[in-house]
């Protein structure tokens, strides 16, 4: 399928302001608390206005009203998107850059606003302090995590609550469904069978729980950082005591209408983004694998050093004159074991965990690209259909009444074939070809109108999506850059520690020997 009307594709033009979609709906959603949105559809009868259309939720379930202690998804219907020109700023800090109006942000309370304000990011911290095992009445047991929101300067605990893994999972899935074009931070996987199998000795279950704890903590803090997500009231409720998911809601799986036609010309911008993401994924996965192997080596080495303690001890029992040196060797072996174990722990926390997270994070980003692509596809389809219809109409109007319509050029051949077939049939059974033709023309005109409506709405969807994807990719890239500089720095720090320690150890032994 080729994209015919390139000129008329507004996305190809750099200037978004030509497309004025939301001309009148800025303060539409303040009164969302009261109104429920029942099954909005893309084809709204009210011509051209998009108020209260929850575009992302075509089949939104009937959610329970907020009663203060239940997390009500309807409470956070999207702020009305406002398409603005994309600003090339280095710091994606504000919600407006995503085309979302700041006025539509829901205000909970001052404290929460502060905590989730981007400028105050370093003043607060969300920490998962504990992971306890709970056995509930039905005999099943699970781990519950204590989440504390802390003000850094005086370590005061502002909020505290306990949540289990499945609640985190629901939160994340909800956010993904809610903002399919934003890159939502990842959470640790459901069942880490592989990690379980290759977990290092000792207390596998403990370390798995520890890992999860760390990653869930990072998840919450990343949410805090995101200029759009941090405003989501659902997150504010999540960290507070008392708010519960009202029921095991079905995670809304947003299925875009993926038509069978897969091939289309991708937006070049999107291709670049996807390629870069794939490349990053490839190398990050490689780094993760390599570093896991290296950690195994380090583990084996530390065990060897602890063995060396015994071996040199045994030899030093011979009480040869050089036995004091052997004794030093023994001590070195023993302390090195401890040191290397600490280093391994640090590597797990700072390097391996982050690499794993980013693998998931990039996968989420690739998904976002897919979502966007589908919207783009849809837009192209509609545009193509529209084009075909218009051509058809033109030909019909210019046609002699008796000449059968011919196929317009265009590759939605099936539809045209059907039309042709129908017109042929009609011409067989037709008594009044002129009337038929008139009917045809008017029905085609109607169809065209409908398509035009579709096109416009899809365009607005696309415009928002494009803006959000762009902005969030930028933010994501910056976050990724910062995080990876940190990973590499930690790598250097950990290794420097090991080498510095060994240098100290051996040179002090050497000076002891040469001084005597």
């Amino acid at each position: 399928m080729s994209l015919q009307a390139v000129d008329s594709d507004p996305l190809m033009s750099p200037d978004y302001e030509d497309v004025d979609i939301n001309n009148n709906n800025i303060d539409n959603n303040i009164n969302n608390k009261d109104s429920e949105i029942e099954n909005p559809t893309l084809n709204d009868d009210t011509e051209g206005s998009f108020k209260n259309i929850d575009i992302e939720y075509p089949n939104k379930p009937n959610l329970l009203q907020s009663a203060g202690n239940q997390i009500d998804c309807s409470f956070i219907t999207p702020p009305e998107p406002n398409v603005k020109r994309l600003l090339r700023s280095t710091n994606i800090n504000s919600i407006e850059e995503y085309g979302i109006d700041i006025k539509s942000k829901v205000h909970c309370c001052d404290l929460l606003d502060n905590i989730f304000n981007h400028d105050n990011y370093n003043d607060y911290f969300i920490e998962i302090t504990q992971a306890e095992k709970i056995n509930d009445f039905f005999g099943s047991s699970y781990i519950i995590y204590t989440i504390q929101t802390i003000r850094k300067q005086d370590h005061e605990v502002l909020f505290e609550t306990k949540r289990r893994y499945s609640e985190f999972d629901m939160l994340q899935k909800h956010l993904i469904a809610r903002f399919p074009t934003l890159i939502i931070p990842p959470i640790p996987g459901k069942s880490n069978l592989i990690e379980y199998a290759t977990g290092s000795g000792k207390n596998q279950k403990d370390t798995m729980v520890e890992k999860r704890k760390r990653m869930l903590q990072t998840f919450l803090n990343r949410l805090r950082k995101h200029p759009v997500l941090c405003c989501m009231h659902i997150i504010h409720l999540f960290i507070q005591q008392g708010a519960q998911w009202s029921s095991k809601q079905d995670i809304i799986d947003l299925k875009e209408g993926t038509n069978k036609i897969v091939s289309c010309i991708d937006e070049p911008r999107l291709v670049i983004i996807k390629d870069k993401l794939n490349l990053c994924l490839k190398y990050i996965t490689a780094m993760y694998n390599i570093q896991s192997e290296a950690c195994k080596n380090l583990q084996d080495l530390s065990v060897l050093y602890s063995n060396s303690g015994e071996i040199y001890n045994c030899w030093s029992m011979e009480k040869d004159p050089y036995a004091p040196i052997l004794d030093q060797f023994r001590k070195t072996g023993e302390t090195l074991y401890t040191k290397l174990q600490t280093a391994l722990q640090n590597m797990e926390t700072y390097i391996i965990d982050t690499l794993v997270q980013y693998i998931k994070y990039i996968e989420i980003a690739l998904n976002v690209c897919k979502v966007y692509r589908n919207k783009y596809l849809r837009f192209q389809q509609i545009s193509q259909q529209l084009e075909n219809k218009r051509n058809y109409l033109k030909h019909m109007e210019n046609e002699n009444a008796h000449e059968p319509s011919y196929e317009p050029t265009g590759s939605i051949g099936i539809e045209n074939n059907i039309l042709r077939f129908r017109s042929t049939i009609n011409s067989f059974i037709d008594n009044d070809p002129i009337v038929t033709r008139q009917n045809n023309i008017s029905s085609t005109k109607d169809f065209i109108n409908q398509l035009e409506g579709d096109q416009e709405s899809q365009l607005s969807i696309l415009a928002i999506a494009s803006l959000q994807v762009d902005t969030d990719i930028q933010r994501f890239e910056k976050e990724r850059k910062d995080d990876f500089i940190n990973i590499f720095k930690q790598y250097a720090l950990i290794h420097r520690d090991i080498d510095a320690y060994q240098y100290e150890l051996w040179s002090s032994i050497k000076s002891q020997i040469s001084n005597k």
Binding site: Y283, N297, L304, S308, W315, K481, N486, K489, Y491
Partner: protein, 445 residues
């Protein structure tokens, strides 16, 4: 009646200190020694250990028309009287070393001759031919260690065979020497052993202790060798992974213009660090583990010599008990004229004699004369054997001291070398990491 109890073992105080050995004094006082027996600190030196210095270098490939072989240049400096020149240079091939070794073994059965590097080195078959530079270098190094050990031995230093070896390429004397005398220590025992005592009667505590100590040393060394071989394997693996990580990080950095510079610094540092780790591992392998392996072989030579000593003593004991059985029998005849020896065989022979009509009295006298003769023959043999054994024991006692002292010197050096390798490598790496971290601090995030 030798009284080995007057001999005491030097525990490390008082041998001729070389450069590094002075440190030992206070070091030893730090350790708690369990004094099981009253020990006299008899000062032992390893005399003259630096009178002969040997160096091996410059391997060359030569041929004698049909075969190719490698020869090594052997430079020596000496301050010994038997040498006509103070400095010598000569070329020898590996086979010459073997002949020298065999000659020395036969000439000095009571000395612990250090082991030669093996003729067939397995690695040479796997990784390349016997002319590859690595193989040649390794062999040169091992031959040098061998010659140095021989040179510092106070007894072997003065060997004619050695002098011959160091002065000329002609090995005929050595070859003859090796043939004439017994080839191995164990064969060089007088073969007048008739009886089959497999164990020594009078076990000498000192030698038993020496053997036990040697066994323990060997076991310890084997453990150390295995441990460090494994450590080296891990280090090499870590080196590889660091390199791979550097590559992956570098490629990752290419995706982001802002990252590229700092990530390149990172990758370069990793590559340098991993190179250092590799070098360290190689040094540990060649210097430390190689030496430990060599020492295990040295211990084997020591064991062989101890066995030889045991054998000599058994000879003597065997002979002397043989002698004793004769004189005992003679005594029996003397004491009891009408001696009727008991036992089936003598009963049968008496009966036989009776049947033949021999006169028991006459026979008894004949027998006594025979016994007398035999005793006369044996006595000097037994005396000689006793002397031999005693002399051997004295020699071995000295050898044990030498070995102990050499061992102390050697291990001190090996351990220090190991420490040096560690210090150098970790210092270099620490500096590399420090530089990198500084660069990270400078790129403001």
């Amino acid at each position: 009646m030798d009284d080995f109890n007057t001999l005491t073992w030097d525990t490390g105080f008082g041998y001729t200190p070389t450069d590094e050995d002075v440190k030992n004094e206070e070091e030893d006082s730090k350790m708690e020694f369990e004094e099981e027996e009253h020990q006299k600190f008899v000062s032992f030196t390893v005399p003259n250990s630096d009178k002969l210095q040997i160096e091996i270098c410059d391997p060359q490939k030569e041929s004698d028309g049909s075969n190719f072989f490698t020869t090594y240049l052997i430079k020596s400096k000496n301050s010994l009287e038997i040498y006509s020149q103070k400095e010598n240079e000569v070329r020898h091939r590996y086979t010459d070393f073997i002949n020298l070794n065999n000659a020395l073994i036969s000439t000095y059965p009571s000395c612990i001759i250090p082991p030669l590097p093996e003729k067939k080195v397995i690695e040479s078959f796997i990784t390349g031919d016997r002319f590859s530079p690595e193989f040649t270098e390794r062999r040169r190094n091992l031959l040098e260690i061998y010659m140095k050990r021989i040179a510092r031995h106070p007894v072997i230093q003065n060997s004619d065979i050695l002098k011959n070896f160091l002065e000329s390429t002609d090995m005929t004397r050595a070859i003859e020497q090796a043939k004439n005398d017994n080839n191995t220590v164990l064969d060089g025992i007088s073969d007048s052993i008739v009886n089959s005592f497999s164990k020594i009667k009078n076990t000498n505590e000192k030698f038993v202790k020496a053997k036990e100590k040697l066994d323990r040393l060997e076991v310890n060394l084997q453990h150390v060798e295995k441990l460090h071989t494994n450590i080296i394997k891990q280090e090499k693996s870590i080196e590889n992974h660091m390199n791979e990580f550097a590559l992956a990080a570098e490629k990752f950095g290419e995706t982001d213009v802002d990252l590229e510079n700092i990530v390149n610094e990172f990758s370069n540092t990793l590559r340098n660090v991993s190179k250092n780790i590799g070098e360290k591992a190689t040094k540990e392998e060649n210097v430390y583990v190689g030496n430990i392996k060599g020492y295990i072989n040295y211990c084997q030579s020591y064991k062989d010599t101890l066995k030889a000593r045991d054998q000599k003593q058994m000879d003597f004991e065997g002979l002397s008990s043989y002698l004793k059985s004769y004189s005992d029998e003679l005594k029996k005849y003397e004491n009891n004229p009408a001696h009727i020896s008991s036992g089936i065989t003598s009963f049968v022979s008496r009966k036989f004699d009776e049947m033949k009509g021999n006169d028991p009295k006459l026979r008894r006298e004949e027998k006594m004369i025979n016994l007398q003769k035999k005793i006369e023959e044996l006595k000097p043999e037994v005396e000689k054997s006793e002397e031999d054994s005693k002399r051997f024991d004295d020699d071995i006692t000295k050898e044990i001291e030498y070995f102990d002292n050499f061992q102390i010197m050697d291990f001190r050096k090996y351990l220090n070398d190991y420490i040096d390798i560690q210090v150098e490598s970790h210092q270099k790496n620490k500096k590399l990491w420090d530089d990198l971290i500084e660069k990270f601090e400078n790129t403001t995030v």
